[in-house]
Every structure is written in C-alpha cells, then in structure tokens.
Amino acid sequence: MVTSEPTGILNPKQRARLLAALYIAQEQYGWLSPEAIQRVATRLNLKPGQVYSTASFYTMFKLEPRGQYLIQVCEGLSCYLVDSVEPMIDHIKKRLSIEAGETTSDGKFSFEIVQCLAACDFAPALKINDELHGNVTLNMIDELITDLSNR
C-alpha cells in the first residue's frame, strides 16, 4: 500500500491528510462504506459530510463495494485511434458476463471504462487494480483474466 507523507512530515491542517486516509480506509474495507467514512471522520476530527464530499469527488474512491480485481479499460482518444478499444470492451463484457460499471456475481471482477491513463504510447491500455498493461490484445485479456480467476 502506498500512502503519502513517507518522510513523516506533518501537514499543517488535519484535512490535508484526508486523501491519504481515504486510501488507507479503502484498502482496509475494500470500499468506502458509511462505516469507513465515519471512522476517517472521527480519526481526522472532521464532519462525515466533509469526508463524503471529498470521497465522492474523486473517481478512485469507491462508494460501493467492488470486485477483488478492478479492470479499467481506457477509451481515450489515442487508445480509440489504434482501433481496438471497442472489441476489447465487448470481449471483456462477454468474458465476464457483466456490463461496464458492474461486478461479477462471485465478487472477483469489476469492469469500468475510463478516460486517458497517460499510456498513449502503448495504446490500447488497461489497468487491473494498480497495474498498468499496454499494447493489450484480446489474447492478453484472456490470459490475465484466467490467471486472476485461478488466484
């Protein structure tokens, strides 16, 4: 788990620790449940509303449970231009039998369509949890999903 403030420098205001705290909470709970939000609020001496306001603004904070592996496919311009985004999206939907934004019934995979991952040099790109994959092919997707399914 990577958080900020590796060097132990204190932020002058408690609220400035909020994004880092939300990452930790999300790691522990798997998602930012109302309970997690409340705990972060208590620890940082903030109102739950303040915590929720920040948590709901950023796409990487999940306010609903999600699968163990979150597959994010970039549909940005450069990935689109290399001709393979639509087939990739269709392939993943079929393979996992879910639509974008959904989670498989076993809770293993979630699938999202996202915007530019700043990986245009090896488009098309996708991300699984924190790991970025470039020059993705349908075969690669099959291998990745099979590998993760067996873990």
Binding site: P6, T7, L19, Y58, C116
Partner: protein, 429 residues
C-alpha cells in the same frame, strides 16, 4: 526541406534509458546533485531568479508562463512559510511525458525543486501526483527518501543555512486537479474545484501561504540551466519559446513515444523523422498538437513549428506538447465526440456553462455521430461553444470547446455529411 534535429543531444531525457535510471546511485554516477550544490553554494536567490528569467524558460504544463517571472512574484518580505507545489497530475489526453520523467528520472526533478525552493525562499515542497500513476508514486517516495538519506533534503542542505522538506501527495482520479488552484484544493483534502484568480497562488496559495506551482518538466529544466547557463538554454528554440521540450506522440504513427527536441521543431519533423511517419503508409489528415484541449490542425499545417508563438498563429496552442496524429481513415466527428466526452466527465461542476454546457455539447455530437443529427446541430454546437468559452472560473471552459469548435471549423463538410446522409463520410467508423 526538413531541417532535422537528429543531432540534438537530449538533456531532460538523457538519463531515462540508462539501467536503473530511477536510482540515486545511477543519478549520482552521472554528476547528479552537482547543479543543486552549485546553486546553493555559488548563487544568491536573486541571481538564480535572474538566471532563469534570462534563460527564457516558460512553463511546460500547458499555460507557458515565464518561470523566472513567476519566481519574482513570490513575496520577499513574507515572514512565514513559503511553498512549492510540484504538479505531476498529468491527465491531458495524448500526454505522457511527466509519467516517464517521474518513473525514470525523479532525482532530476528533485534537484529542480531544491534550486527553485532556494531561489524563492520556500521551505516545503509538496508533490502532487496523479492517483493512477502507481509506479510513479512509488518512485517519488523512494527518490525523496533517498535524497533525505544523502542530505539533499532536510536541514542545512550542502552545509548551508537552507533547509527543505518534501513529501508526496497522491491524487485520486480527477483531471481538473492539474489546474493549479484545483490542485491546491486537493492538497488541502478538499474536492478539487478551481479557485477564482486573483489572488494568485504566489500571494495566497496552499493553506493561504505564498505558493509557487510548477509542472515537473519545467523543474527538470532548472538544473541544466544552472549548470550550462542561461545563454545555452536561450540558444535552443525560437524567439519566444526557449529550450528543449519533450513531445509525446501517439495515435496513427509507426513509433509512438516521447521525443525530446528543441522547441520550434516542426510537426513534420517530429512525426516523420522521429515517430516513424503515419502508420501503414496512410495519408495524414489531422493533428492535435498539444493535448486534447488544443485546437485541431489540418494536414497542410504540418510545417508549423512546435513553439508557443507559431502554434498560436496557426490557431492552436502548444499546450503540453502531446501530439495526436490522425490518418485519412479518422472520423473527425468521433474525435470531437470522444474528447468532449472526456471533458464532460471531468468537469468539476462548479460553473454552469462547463457543467451543463459540456453535456449539451456532448449530446449534440452524439446525435450527429449516431446519424440522428438535426439540421441546426452544427450551429447549436458553435453557439454552445461560444457561451462556454470564457465564462468559467478556470481554463476548462475554453479547453472543452476546442475539439468540437476546431473540428467544425476545419472539417465542417464531415459534420454536414453526417447530418444529411446519416452516416460517416470516412466510412470506417
């Protein structure tokens, strides 16, 4: 005739292909931390500000503000803490230079940070990095920890009275946090919504303190300016655009990637000499020169030099230098639609023209692309663009209308064909 810069010796990217380029041992083995030592022991802060002013360095994050001038705006009589905020929130579609810098040569940026902080009297530097850059976050954290261990950060750097603390702050997925005041809001733990300017960050920035914000490519230039001099830097580039620049090239090219070249290198040279030309031998149709928010250029503008003033004259902007190349099979309505979808998704929601306008613009483009376009739709899109641009807190309003407006201006016949024939002129998509 193409005047090739094949001989140009990379400066900003000279280390990145070395083995273990991100490690402090590699950096030190290549005269690392000599520039910052020199700056702190041989220069006064005023001399450094003067040096950077004379170099002509302009910001590499998109706006192109003169760096030395920005440094001189930091108050000299401020008693409390001053701050440098380091922008690694790269999210502009078509841009991937900052990711490469932080993953492969973070110490170059730390040196730039040390020098900039010494020059403006800042004692704390906050790195803001895009949440998706997992490897980048790890590299930043390791690099900063190592720099502390070697005494390049912390108390009394190089046995001077200057002290500097630096830490990493991970963003969490919001394009708008690349805008400097939105980034400050996010650093404070709030939703990243831009602030109204003035006051500018140099007066009232992070936690209300004087704050200077720089993109990491700008900071990567600083150590080289200190070592090689302002005249060396100013000798590279054009009249108003000095120094080397990393151009990210993607889309329909044989060799997508980052290419470091002098500012003022033509698009033609970058695309054909360096990025291997348009892929599969196809014909060039259009180019986005500086990331998705910059106006689209046509193939006959390929001789335009990549410099602030020349791109402005061509009706576009240098932006981040993220070049997206499109060949003859590209549907320009779809290109505009995709970019607009991105901006509509990333609008922070504060200003109505951006929040609602982007959605209305996207709906209009969706209709045209899907063959449901109405006869008035082109004019409606232009009307929306006119009323969004300039009517928002931050530059997002201007940015979001550029794909639609510029492609209508340059490729209007494609829009008309889409509406009248209910299908695409290009046919492939």
């Amino acid at each position: 005739m193409i005047v090739a810069h094949m001989m140009f010796e990379p400066v900003l990217t000279k280390n990145i292909y070395k083995k273990d380029s991100e490690k402090i041992s590699t950096y030190l083995a290549n005269r690392g931390y000599e520039a910052s030592r020199q700056a702190l022991t041989e220069f006064t802060p005023e001399e450094l500000i003067e040096l950077v002013k004379r170099s002509g360095l302009r910001g590499r994050g998109g706006a192109g503000f003169p760096a030395g001038l920005k440094w001189s705006f930091m108050p000299k009589d401020h008693d409390g803490m001053k701050i440098l905020a380091v922008n690694t929130d790269e999210g502009e579609p078509g841009t991937f230079k900052d990711r490469q810098i932080v993953e492969r040569d973070p110490h170059l940026v730390i040196e730039g940070v040390i020098i900039a902080c010494f020059a403006v009297g800042a004692s704390r530097a906050y790195v803001y990095i895009r949440g998706e850059f997992f490897l980048g976050v790890k590299r930043w954290i390791k690099a900063i920890a190592d720099a502390y261990e070697y005494g390049f950060l912390g108390e009394n750097i190089f046995d001077t009275t200057f002290s500097l603390d630096m830490s990493v702050h991970r963003g969490a997925g919001a394009y708008i946090c690349g805008e400097e005041t939105a980034m400050l809001e996010s650093l404070e733990g709030k939703p990243g919504r831009p602030r109204l300017k003035p006051p500018y960050p140099t007066q009232t920035g992070l936690f209300g303190l004087p704050t200077i914000v720089h993109n990491i490519e700008t900071l990567a230039c600083i150590p080289h300016i200190v070592q090689k001099g302002a005249d060396w830097f100013a000798s590279i580039g054009t009249a108003e655009s000095k120094g080397p620049k990393i151009f990210s090239v993607s889309g329909h090219v044989e060799k997508p990637g980052n290419y470091e070249l002098p500012l003022g290198t033509t698009l033609k040279e970058i695309i054909y000499e360096h990025a291997g030309g348009v892929r599969y031998g196809k014909r060039l149709k259009a180019i986005i020169p500086g990331g998705a928010s910059t106006p689209i250029l046509t193939a006959d503008q390929v001789d335009t030099p990549m410099a602030f003033e020349t791109l402005e004259k061509a009706g576009s902007q240098l932006g981040t230098g993220g070049i997206v190349v499109m060949d003859e099979t590209t549907c320009m309505v779809e290109v505009a639609r995709r970019s607009t979808k991105f901006f509509a998704h990333e609008s922070c929601g504060r200003c109505v023209p951006c929040r609602i306008g982007s959605i209305r613009l996207l709906e209009t483009l969706d209709r045209i692309e899907d063959g449901q376009g109405l006869p008035d739709d082109i004019e409606s899109a232009l009307y929306l663009a006119k009323n969004i641009d300039g009517n928002t807190f931050c530059p997002m309003g201007a940015a979001l209308v550029n794909p639609a407006r510029s492609s209508i201006m340059k490729f209007r016949e494609e829009y008309e064909y889409h509406i009248s024939h209910k299908k695409c002129m290009v046919g492939s998509k």
